[in-house]
């Protein structure tokens, strides 16, 4: 592998590890520093958000955490992929699987991010008074881009698995 790509792979591998450790760390700091519900964005509600207590509070936080969990899974696949790349293991079955899983992770992040708002609004609506219940849906441009990028990575993973197959077949020729 050319030196510049090896250096890039090492940098990305280190960055992915920093993100993998840093993201949960930041979340823990936020949860311990004050009202964890300040995490939950209720701007999408057109009526005042009701008082949220007990189980509903943790349900809202759990829903908010879903894209983060998908992100950790995606970053873990990146760590494995970049680790292989920095060691020169590029066209391998493991790399193709990690690439595909990375793509599926990006798609999951997009879908879960889209689902967070309706799920949270449903929970908030359940404890609201009659006439103040609603379900909201927000789809942003970045969600669409995540979906497209994730789908692209899945296809690249498939292409890489074909490259692995051809490489193995080529090795049988002298």
């Amino acid at each position: 592998m050319p030196a510049k790509f090896s250096i890039l792979a090492k940098f990305l591998h280190l960055s992915a590890w920093v993100a993998f450790i840093g993201l949960p760390g930041v979340a823990v700091v936020f949860l311990m520093s004050g009202d964890p519900l300040s995490f939950v964005d209720t701007d999408f509600l057109s009526v005042p958000s009701p008082d949220v207590l007990g189980l509903h509070r943790w349900t809202l936080l759990g829903i908010a955490a879903l894209p983060g969990i998908a992100m950790l899974y995606t970053i873990w696949q990146m760590i494995g992929l970049f680790d292989g790349f920095r060691q020169g293991r590029v066209i391998t079955p493991i790399a193709s699987r990690q690439m595909a899983r990375l793509g599926k992770g990006l798609v999951a992040i997009a879908l879960l991010t889209i689902l967070v708002v309706p799920l949270q609004s449903a929970v908030l609506s359940m404890i609201a008074k009659a006439g103040e219940r609603e379900i909201s849906l927000v789809i942003g441009g970045e969600d669409i881009w995540f979906l497209i990028a994730g789908g692209l990575m899945v296809l690249i993973g498939y292409a890489l698995s074909e490259a692995v197959r051809l490489s193995d077949e080529n090795k049988g020729f002298i």
Binding site: E169, G172, F173, I174
Partner: protein, 66 residues
């Protein structure tokens, strides 16, 4: 029908070792060994041409259909 590799016969006739053939052709001794045992999927034409040039023979002297 199978393709039989008679490389060991040609090497014996030319009194050449596998190691020397590998060095002259530019492939590894392991690949020569795999070729002798017929455990390769195929041989590239340029590899076959170099083997024939080194052993001063025809492809038919090395490969046989059975």
């Amino acid at each position: 029908m199978q393709i039989i590799v008679r490389l060991d016969v040609m090497l014996a006739r030319r009194k050449m070792k596998s190691r020397d053939l590998a060095a002259a052709v530019g492939i590894t001794e392991q690949n020569i060994s795999l070729l002798k045992s017929g455990k390769v999927k195929g041989v590239r034409f340029d590899t076959l041409a170099r083997i024939c040039e080194v052993l001063d023979c025809q492809p038919g002297d090395i490969l046989e259909a059975e």
